[in-house]
């Protein structure tokens, strides 16, 4: 199977689905880059190059560079989804969702419910998230917990190039609004990705690594951190199982509970701030439904409850590390 980057996997999914379904359109800031200027029209392909080449293939009617105006174009994408198109809107950094949260949280998420089931909103909002790029507090947050909290939204947070492609195709074909979160430090990671189209259903967690002593539930980019931790743990004779939920809404509760029942020792790893988060939510779920199977307290490894700092040493300390995950796992492995 071909080795492709996370970025390339997403680009393939977008190309495939736009070719397959003329109702799919895209909009966002610098989605192509160069609109209205004299140089190359498709200069950027999005701030991270994910949408490169789509303009040439599908033209400016379907690939729209927007003004820097999130409230208007996310609202327009929601309205377009309500009236017959299947828009994909890109928020360059998920932090900017603050500018248009009304359109996400009060409008798109609620159309179906408020209108008595007579509306569908096949909208995908793609956004980058995550720390590690020395970009400071307003370009680096992990906000999946906020979206997961809102009924009506689905939240996808892939960790591998293979999953990125399959989950994005699924997201575009879904009739509900989907928040699709791409960690900016994952774009250049490489993995096996088939050339053809395939979809990955939502609420189907992936067993990233099998093991029997400790269960590590890791989200998004934290899956690779967990994998590094698992290698350290293996050297110490501790066998770690890693589960990647892939979607935090809907959440594959069954798989998380099954593995908790089987292993009894759990570490949850999440880059998001810890209070009222997906990590605490999963922890509560396991404590509620698998309490009798637990052989040790559930351990959470997350960022601290602070904004993302700028100084390199502080940002590195902010992001959960493999060492911290290994330490947490070790602390419960022998109990």
């Amino acid at each position: 199977m071909a080795q492709k980057s996370f970025r390339q996997a997403l680009n393939e999914a977008l190309h495939f689905e736009m070719a397959r379904d003329p109702r799919v359109i895209m909009m966002g800031e610098d989605l192509t880059g160069g609109a209205g200027a004299n140089g190359v029209k498709d200069a950027w392909g999005g701030a991270f190059g994910v949408t490169k080449g789509l303009l040439g293939a599908f033209g400016p009617e379907r690939i729209r560079d927007t003004p820097i105006s999130e409230a208007a174009f996310i609202g327009a994408a929601a309205g377009a989804a309500l009236t017959g198109l299947r828009p994909i809107a890109e928020i360059m950094f998920v932090d900017f969702a603050g500018v248009c949260l009304d359109q996400i949280m009060n409008q798109a998420a609620k159309f179906r419910y408020m209108f008595g089931g007579r509306a569908k909103t096949p909208l995908v909002i793609r956004a980058t998230y995550g720390a590690g790029s020395r970009s400071g507090s307003q370009h680096t947050q992990a906000l999946h917990s906020i979206f997961t909290h809102i009924p009506g939204l689905k939240v996808v947070i892939p960790s591998t190039p293979y999953d990125a492609k399959g989950l994005l195709l699924q997201a575009i074909r879904d009739d509900d609004p989907v928040i699709f979160l791409e960690h900016k430090m994952l774009y250049d990671t490489v993995g096996e990705v088939p050339d053809g189209a395939y979809t990955i259903p939502f609420a189907e967690a992936r067993v990233a690594r099998d093991g029997k002593d400790v269960l590590i539930i890791a989200i998004g980019r934290m899956v690779s951190v967990a994998e590094e931790a698992a290698r350290k743990l293996a050297a110490d004779g501790i066998s770690a199982c890693i589960i990647d939920p892939r979607t935090t809404s809907p959440l594959d509760e069954d798989t998380l509970l099954d593995f908790t029942d089987k292993i009894g020792r759990v570490v949850i790893v999440d880059e998001a701030n810890p209070r009222c988060s997906v990590a605490t939510d999963i922890s509560a779920l396991l404590a509620d439904k698998s309490f009798d199977a637990l052989k040790a307290p559930i351990k959470l490894v997350t960022a601290p409850h602070s904004p993302v700092p700028y100084a390199p040493n502080l940002e590195d300390a902010y992001i959960p590390t493999a060492a911290a995950v290994a330490k947490a796992a070790t602390s419960i492995a022998k109990r």
């Binding site: 109702r23 359109i25 009617e61 379907r62 729209r64 927007t66 003004p67 105006s69 409230a71 208007a72 174009f73 996310i74 609202g75 327009a76 994408a77 929601a78 309205g79 377009a80 989804a81 309500l82 009236t83 017959g84 198109l85 828009p87 009304d102 359109q103 009060n106 409008q107 609620k110 159309f111 179906r112 419910y113 408020m114 209108f115 008595g116 089931g117 007579r118 509306a119 569908k120 009924p151 009506g152 689905k154 879904d174 009739d175 509900d176 609420a203 809404s249 809907p250 959440l251």
Partner: protein
């Protein structure tokens, strides 16, 4: 646009729809008093000529979006009043199965994209509907109704910008009743609304919203421009608001004298009747018959709503997603 250019049936329809909105609102206010309509409502009474004048220019497949004050726009766009009344009573037979209520009333089958509990939020959504029409190659247009309060939300200006750069088939109808909730527009709005839109090179028209013919004429120009590929237009429509901001608002920030004068001097139904008499187009008796017909229809809607069951408890978690998780 002279009154003479509308057919006899169209004139009767104009009157019937305005009268229906007025009586619907007055009846809702009465029923609020019984406690059988939950929560609160924001009434449109006084502004009827605006919704009716605009929607008379629209086709079945055209879209509108509305404001907190969504009943009038819904009726003007052809939404069934039985289901609307049932929705206000929170019943399963309501337009939204009882899950939307007054502030979220919507009927996509009639092109009504919803009242909105968030001021100005309908503007970008309606840009999206207009974008759909453009991309799908249809000739339909979209109309975003908004109030004067919405003009001070940033998303309104963003929507003007988006509509202009994308040349969207959209009409922004700003219904200026002089008040954003309890605060006078004059106290919180700088400059003129039409100049704001004109600064985006969007053509504008300023209209007396108590004159249904003036609104009809302005809307005709705007809708024709949108349908013909000429892009957005903004109508600044001046209307009175008969009740307070919401049904529980004692409306003490306006004097009894100005409220009385407003009703005496700026009533679209009274002026319509006077006009019809002047030009001898509709008989008093015909109009009286419409009044009775409307009365009966509203009695029937209220009785049906009251008799209808509430939604089943299973509806609590249905339609959150296509399939509940």
């Amino acid at each position: 646009m002279s009154a003479l250019q509308l057919s006899h049936d169209e004139l009767l329809k104009v009157y019937r729809t305005m009268r229906m909105i007025r009586r619907f609102e007055e009846r809702v206010m009465e029923e609020m008093g019984t406690g059988d309509i939950p929560g609160n409502t924001h009434l449109y009474a006084g502004q009827e000529a605006s919704a009716v004048g605009v929607c008379l220019q629209l086709e079945e497949g055209d879209y509108i979006s509305s404001t907190h004050r969504g009943h009038g726009h819904s009726i003007a766009k052809g939404v069934d009043i039985d289901s609307m009344m049932a929705e206000l009573f929170g019943r399963a037979s309501g337009t939204c199965g009882g899950k939307g209520g007054s502030m979220h009333i919507a009927d996509l089958r009639k092109g009504m994209l919803g009242a909105n509990g968030i001021v100005a939020a309908g503007a970008p959504i309606t840009c999206g509907a207009a974008l759909s029409m453009k991309v799908l190659g249809s000739r339909q247009v979209a109309v975003a109704f908004a109030g004067d309060g919405a003009m001070n939300e940033g998303v309104m200006s963003e929507s003007f910008n988006l509509a202009k750069i994308w040349n969207l088939p959209i009409v922004f109808v700003i219904e200026d009743n002089g008040f954003g909730e309890a605060t006078a527009n004059a106290a919180v709005s700088a400059g003129s609304f039409t100049r704001r839109a004109e600064s985006y090179d969007i053509p504008t028209l300023e209209v007396d919203g108590t004159d249904v013919f003036a609104v009809y004429s302005a809307a005709g120009e705007a809708v024709e421009r949108a349908r013909g590929g000429g892009g957005p237009t903004m109508l600044h429509v001046h209307v009175p608001r008969y009740y307070g901001h919401y049904s529980g608002d004692p409306d003490t920030y306006r004097t009894p004298e100005e409220k009385k004068a407003m009703r005496q001097e700026r009533d679209c139904l009274v002026s319509f009747r006077r006009r019809m008499k002047e030009v001898s187009l509709l008989e008093e008796a015909e109009l009286d018959a419409v009044d009775q017909e409307v009365e009966a229809a509203i009695d029937q809607a209220v009785a049906a709503a009251r008799a209808a069951p509430f939604p089943p408890l299973s509806a609590l978690t249905s339609d959150v997603y296509v399939k509940y998780l």
